[in-house]
Symmetry: C2
Subunit: 264 residues, 2 copies
């Protein structure tokens, strides 16, 4: 595939905006170099960012920022600098892993919770592990189980569709649009890509783009099960297309990639 | 039974306060004279109120008030005035009849309802036939079925006990106390009464007292099913004792009662 063809493909995959470089690097390290000893050479990082039109200077600034924030660390070996996730960056990546790479969304029960309106407002809150959205005064929709006997805590599972004003708080209209947009972009990439014609670098760059776009969408959404989400949310379609795309775009062997870049 | 013994019994049955006379008359007519042609003579009304210590003057004032309010009407026959329910009084009595005389409370499902907090507040309300209590801002517990797709409307049936602050709104502590008090009074009357030793007038007066006390309690409570009421609510105990008491205190034949008073 020519560089121009590839550029068009990645532009379509990325939609209306080039990703923030540091965020793209977070995806790249989390996707390609999650293992404790995994490293990406500076050359590889630059080649992958350059493949989607990011300038070396911008990549250097982003690498610097991520090192300062303790997300990645550099390792010198001879004349080369290689980069890997810190244990902090690795544990944050792992925490998000099930939502990004998991094969389906949660099927947790969802509850409506009402706090006692005459209690002081600074009450115990919901655990961070739960998806929780406030929908009105002292009123919440959450996947957290009942812990406080003073809260009304009733399951929403077996009921009809939620009123629109509630499901739009669980998944706002702009997020629904974003999911529809990503679903269209993933369909486009699946339809237009001749994956066999891509170079190894192109394959890997496209993989990181795809992971990045999906990761951004799914981590913007609250982890409610799909049955409670509005119809406009196309997360499940995106997840299916994502899984198919990853089948075409497997994780590379990093030393093969490094070698490929050196010789290529 | 001596008048003094009967007076002690009715005082115990009535608890801490003599009933409001007009309210006692509403019970009396509703219980003894619900049939369209049923009449109570002035003499009978006076004898029954006098039996529980109400002065003739107070009875006259209450009869006047109830006539003015269109609840009862008077019928002259010779020198006697006889009283009966108006059709208004009869239909109001019939509306309350199932809750007062019914053998069990409703087993309607109960729902929690939340209105959209960003909607204007003057929205459609719940039907009058439903038991409904507001428990917080835009939040209700009701037996009304869902009618408005903009409301969150979830059943409370299969859940554990409600938080105290909610069940106390469905049945406030003072009403729980009143039910405990009435339960004790009914037990006392059942234990202490030698029903066979009561005169017909005493039997009927005691019946009206018992109906009146139960009617006041049950009509002060919201018609929620018992499973959702707090443990302190002794309505079911009162209802059982009420049924047993009515077995001992049957509805009299009104002309027998009139005759009994004339000859006695």
């Amino acid at each position: 595939m020519t560089d121009a063809d590839f550029e068009e493909l990645t532009l379509k995959a990325l939609g209306s905006s080039t990703p923030r470089v540091w965020s793209f690097l977070v995806t790249m390290f989390g996707d390609l170099a999650l293992a404790p000893e995994a490293r990406l050479s500076g050359a590889t990082v630059n080649a992958l960012t350059a493949a989607i039109g990011i300038k070396p200077e911008a990549t250097r600034v982003a690498l610097h920022r991520l090192r300062k924030e303790g997300w990645i660390e550099s390792h010198r070996s001879g004349r080369q600098t290689r980069y890997g996730l810190t244990s902090h960056g690795r544990s944050e990546t792992k925490a998000a892993w099930p939502r990004v790479y998991g094969t389906s969304s949660s099927d947790h029960p969802v509850y409506f919770v009402l706090e006692n309106p005459s209690e002081p407002v600074d009450q115990a809150r919901f655990p961070q592990s739960a998806a929780t959205v406030q929908i009105g005064p002292r009123s919440f929709v959450t996947t957290a189980r009942a812990t406080d006997e003073h809260q009304l805590h009733v399951p929403l599972d077996s009921n009809g569709p939620l009123p629109d004003w509630i499901s739009e708080k669980l998944c706002p209209p702009e997020l629904q649009s974003a999911s529809q947009d990503l679903s269209r972009r993933f369909e486009y990439v699946l339809r237009r890509s001749d994956f066999g014609a891509l170079s190894l670098l192109q394959l890997v760059a496209l993989r990181v783009v795809v992971v990045h776009e999906w990761r951004r969408l799914i981590l913007r959404s609250s982890a409610f099960p799909e049955y409670i989400m509005p119809h406009g949310w196309k997360g499940p379609d995106c997840r299916d297309a994502f899984a198919t795309l990853l089948d075409h775009l497997p994780v590379p062997n990093l030393s093969t990639l490094d070698q490929d870049l050196e010789t290529g």
